[in-house]
């Protein structure tokens, strides 16, 4: 045994300490600034603030849709449910009293289906998968599954936590605690009185929270629901696409920097923000969407200090051309029916009402189960029939045909055809007219009034397929109208054979139009030949495209007179159904047979007042046993009455 060796041992120990001192000095002197910056960076947090989405008003300034503050009552499971059973029960009792519910109800909400266990299990599963993807999971797949199952199957969360501690140790606990620290909403959108009593009675309980959120409120419920549209979340693909084009980063990234924006994006913040999924909400998303604000906050030991902020910008408000009272009148007129009503200003294309039935209530729409129910409904309440419903126009098409004929055929207003109820158009093709009793020679005006098929078979035959098609095209059939909320194009093909031409003459066959397109045709006839662009947004000046079709006033006159006679002369197809005492309405009925059934789609398309046209209207009633006049006519009359304040 040598003394030297102990001295050498001392030297070794000194050298070891020297190495550590050197490293310590290196970290704390040379790299000090860098690490200080890192430490500081970790203390900085982003707090995102939200502003309300733009409101929607009708043309008279009534609110149709608006963000309202809402309050949710939430708990932090990790602070409430993992304490002793007595403590948990006490908290539940207090909450129940404050929320005007029984403890049983609160407990059911927490531990019932879609309660805390499901939520936590789901969140943990996601977190475990995330860890596994990054190779940071120390558990095998079975163990991970077991960990999730402990939570899913547990009696109480306190029990689950104890089990996890025993079986998985602190590693498992960390995974559990992390997820249990998130808010769990007990009740969303509570009344202010409930909010206040929760704040007063349970506000000082660690883990009880009143979250302020916002809720879209629709004062008119289901009225104009299709026009307004609903909010929802973007699908994964849509979200990716929008994210990549910088949709969410705009205005925010300048304040919080790209790295923090990434963090926020990864945390799903933007993906869960509601966006317009239909109607005006969708079409004007860019206008109405609020720009989120952000605050940069540095945590300090006893609180926080604000480093920088940008305020949230509320979304822009929108005023529609819709008159909500007329809209409601149109909807009331459709009560119990399936169909659509379009009311449009004939000169500028402002839509005054755009009703579709059946409808849905926007205020209850956000619930997923409600949405799924609506989607699977046979009557397709989600479809906006006024712009997206495509129907054979039936006899209403005859007005377009008449306009074509008076312009293409010289002296057509004097042409007369006889109707014997049937006509042979080929060796094996016989077409009928059962719209009226056989008469002698008949002019255009009477043919419109009685909706004579024979007259229009012959007219169409003279015009030929190409001209029928090109005139339809000029009136916008088969094309989108350009309305902001989007619509269907309908269907237009050129008829080739005599049979096809005859079918088109009475608006049957492959020809399909939307009610909005039909209203536009009527508007063009009423306003002297201008094809308007229908719109639901109220612009300060009507600077929307209006196409002059080059029609002649003197030639339009007989068509209008025919339409007048339909409603106002004894024997007209809508005489008994749409005539009003003090208001002269001009229009045309249509009854489009639905193949392989006894049912029809009933039409009425017209304008009023006759001498100084203001508005046009198109009504379609789906799958009815009745005819254009007796089914669609009264609906039109109801709506017109509401507009002109006509009493019956």
């Amino acid at each position: 045994m040598r003394r030297n060796r102990f001295k050498i041992l001392l030297i070794v120990v000194t050298l070891g300490t020297g190495v550590l001192m050197g490293r310590l000095a290196h970290l704390q002197i040379f790299d000090h600034r860098r690490y200080l910056k890192d430490a500081y960076g970790k203390r900085v947090r982003i707090e995102v603030t939200r502003a309300p989405r733009g409101a929607i008003f009708d043309r008279n300034g009534l609110v149709l849709a608006q963000d309202k503050p809402a309050y949710d009552i939430a708990i932090i499971p990790g602070l409430i449910c993992t304490r002793s059973p007595q403590a948990e029960a006490e908290t539940i009792d207090i909450l129940a009293r404050a929320m005007h519910r029984t403890p049983r109800e609160i407990r059911d909400r927490i531990y019932g289906p879609q309660g805390i266990r499901d939520r936590l299990a789901k969140d943990m599963q996601r977190h475990l998968r995330w860890l596994a993807r990054r190779n940071m999971l120390k558990l095998s797949d079975e163990e991970a599954q077991e960990l999730v199952d402990v939570v899913r199957m547990c009696e109480t969360l306190a029990q689950a936590r104890a089990d996890i501690r025993a079986r998985f140790g602190t590693g498992g606990l960390r995974i559990f605690d992390r997820q249990a620290a998130g808010d769990f909403v007990l009740e969303a959108d509570v009344k202010p009185s409930v909010r206040d009593s929760v704040i007063i009675e349970a506000g000082d309980i660690h883990g009880v929270k009143v979250l302020s959120s916002s809720k879209r409120h629709y004062p008119f419920g289901e009225s104009a629901c299709h026009v307004l549209g609903y909010l929802g979340q973007l699908s994964q693909e849509e979200y990716r696409a929008k994210e990549e084009e910088g949709f969410f980063a705009e205005g925010l990234v300048e304040v919080i920097g790209p790295a923090r924006y990434r963090t926020l994006e990864r945390s799903n913040y933007f993906a869960v923000q509601p966006v317009g999924r239909a109607g005006v909400e969708r079409a004007l998303e860019g206008e109405m969407r609020p720009c989120p604000g952000a605050r940069l906050v540095a945590l300090v030991r006893d609180g926080r200090e604000t480093l920088g902020r940008s305020d949230a910008q509320p979304g822009g408000n929108i005023t529609l051309t819709i008159d909500i009272h007329l809209q409601k009148a149109a909807e009331d007129a459709l009560a119990g029916l399936k169909g659509a009503v379009v009311v449009m200003d004939v000169h500028h294309g402002e839509i005054l009402a755009l009703a579709s039935a059946p409808r849905y209530d926007l205020n209850t729409f956000r619930r997923l189960e409600r949405y799924n129910l609506l989607r699977s409904d046979e009557d397709a309440p989600l479809v906006h029939r006024a712009v997206r419903g495509q129907y054979a126009p039936g006899s209403t098409f005859k007005i377009l045909e008449a306009v074509a004929a008076v312009h293409e055929i010289e002296g057509f207003e004097n042409v007369r055809y006889e109707c014997h109820g049937r006509i042979r158009l080929g060796p094996n093709t016989v077409f009928h007219c059962r719209n009226h009793a056989p008469t002698g020679p008949m002019c255009l005006r009477d043919a419109l009034k009685k909706s004579c098929n024979i007259f229009f078979y012959r007219t169409a035959s003279r015009l030929g397929g190409a001209r029928l098609r090109s005139w339809s095209e000029r009136f916008g059939i088969g094309r989108h109208t350009g309305i902001e909320i989007g619509d269907a194009a309908g269907n237009l093909v050129q008829p080739r054979t005599e049979g096809e031409i005859a079918n088109m003459a009475i608006g049957q066959g492959p020809l399909l139009v939307t009610p909005l397109q039909m209203a536009r045709v009527v508007a063009a006839i009423a306003n002297g030949g201008k094809l308007v662009t229908p719109h639901v947004l109220l612009y300060p000046e009507a600077n929307l495209e209006t196409v002059d079709l080059g029609l002649r006033e003197d030639r339009l006159e007989p068509v209008r007179r025919g339409m007048w006679a339909v409603v106002n002369e004894r024997g007209g197809t809508a005489y008994r159904h749409a005539r009003m005492k003090r208001l002269e309405v001009a229009g045309k009925t249509g009854t489009a047979e639905i193949a392989n059934s006894n049912l029809n789609n009933a039409w009425f398309a017209g304008f009023a007042p006759f001498d100084r046209p203001q508005i046009c209207i198109a009504v379609v009633i789906e799958k009815t046993a009745g005819h254009g006049g007796d089914t669609a006519g009264p609906v039109a009359r109801e709506v017109l009455r509401a507009y002109f304040h006509e009493d019956s």
């Binding site: 045994m1 040598r2 003394r3 060796r5 102990f6 001295k7 050498i8 041992l9 001392l10 120990v13 000194t14 070891g16 300490t17 190495v19 550590l20 001192m21 490293r23 310590l24 000095a25 970290l27 704390q28 002197i29 790299d31 000090h32 860098r34 690490y35 200080l36 890192d38 430490a39 500081y40 970790k42 203390r43 860890l131 990054r134 940071m136 120390k138 025993a166 998985f168 140790g169 602190t170 590693g171 945590l299 030991r301 006893d302």
Partner: protein, 374 residues
């Protein structure tokens, strides 16, 4: 009375004072690390820590009374008992995937490996006090077995950090006992040659990751790497004088996992800076120097070897623990002696230093110029 005074005068007061200074660090920083900003309160841990310290001090004082030579008679027995306890720990359900503990109710879990360290020091010192056992390479097989059997058993628990401690104990004792440098070099060479196969076949995946993770902590920034990254931020941001007690943001933000136990040095570095952390390192150096000076004053080989073993063990613990907080060593579960929170570790450190103090008090004065041999 005179007897008492005589005894008190023999207590190595330098050692005791240095210990107290290091313990003071422990109290201060376990307190600081246990602050919970969310609740604006401290956990109960620092109070428990003080209880453990009092218990440790009592054991320390008690250990001063009997002559360590008497303890030597039981060295192998203690070794055997500890070995049995380690085997017994395999019978209990794993915690965190490891079977390191024997639970006694809910309050205390005994970690036998902590006491195995002491047993190995005693057993090796006992065996190596006879020079005869050192001359031949063949006879060196016994001390290697004494050290490697518990190493393997503890490695299987698994507890890599503690297991690795037996190697510095062994080498410190062999070297101090006078084993030929040639033999030691050979053993070290064999050991190094065995490392690669051991690394690839003997370790679990996460242990491997830990061992190499410290080389590139940023790449595995969420588990082992995460701790290291956070710890380096804490130490680096401390600078020369630190952010002030209780003011370290890594500490109060709870960004640093295990900040009361394995990573307490990072809290020292963050809050007291180079001055405080460097001071702690110097205190440890002083502790080792004081211990070695006790060894140098002692001529009795068993006592000297005990001191060598204790210094080797504690120095290895300090270097590994401090080294891992600064990214010089792999992250393994290793406490900082006398500072980290934890009962077993605190007790075993007190016992080890109690043995050293005992050696100082009971060394047999030998007035021969030649070395004492049996």
């Amino acid at each position: 009375m005179t007897m008492m005074r005589k005894k008190l005068s023999r207590v190595p007061w330098a050692l005791v004072v240095i210990m107290c200074a290091i313990l003071a660090y422990g109290v201060v920083f376990v307190f600081s690390a246990s602050y919970r900003a969310q609740e604006n309160d401290f956990t109960a841990d620092p109070y428990k820590q003080v209880v453990w310290m009092a218990l440790g001090a009592a054991v320390f004082v008690a250990l001063l009374v009997p002559n360590y030579m008497k303890l030597g008679r039981f060295a192998y027995l203690i070794y055997a008992v500890c070995l049995v306890l380690i085997l017994a720990s395999y019978l209990f359900p794993p915690v965190n995937g490891a079977r390191r503990w024997i639970p006694f109710g809910s309050f205390f879990k005994l970690q036998p490996s902590e006491f195995m360290k002491i047993a190995v020091v005693l057993a090796l010192a006992k065996y190596l006090m006879y020079r005869d056992n050192l001359s031949r390479a063949r006879k060196l097989a016994v001390p290697f077995c004494l050290a490697l059997v518990p190493t393997v058993l503890i490695l299987r628990q698994p507890d890599l950090g503690t297991a690795l401690l037996f190697i510095p104990i062994l080498f410190a004792l062999l070297y101090s006992a006078g084993a030929r440098v040639k033999h030691l070099g050979l053993a070290a060479a064999i050991g190094l040659a065995l490392l690669p196969p051991l690394y690839f076949f003997g370790l679990k995946d996460y242990q491997r990751k830990r061992l190499t993770g410290f080389l590139h902590p940023e790449r595995t920034s969420l588990q082992e790497g995460y701790q290291l990254v956070q710890s380096k931020i804490a130490i680096g941001s401390g600078g020369l004088t630190g952010q002030g007690l209780g003011q370290g943001s890594q500490n109060w933000m709870e960004a640093l996992p295990y900040d009361q136990t394995d990573f307490i040095f990072a809290v020292v570095g963050e809050e007291w800076g180079l001055v405080g952390a460097g001071g702690l390192l110097l205190l440890y150096l002083a502790l080792f120097a004081a211990s070695i000076s006790i060894a140098l004053r002692t001529r009795e080989p068993f006592g000297r070897l005990i001191v060598a073993g204790v210094v080797g063990l504690l120095a290895a613990q300090v270097y590994i623990n401090v080294g891992m907080t600064m990214g010089l060593m792999p992250v393994t579960g290793m406490t900082l002696p006398l500072v980290s929170y934890g009962g077993s570790s605190m007790l075993s450190s007190f016992i080890l230093l109690g043995l050293v103090a005992n050696v100082a008090m009971h060394h047999i004065p030998v007035f021969s110029s030649r070395e004492f041999t049996c």
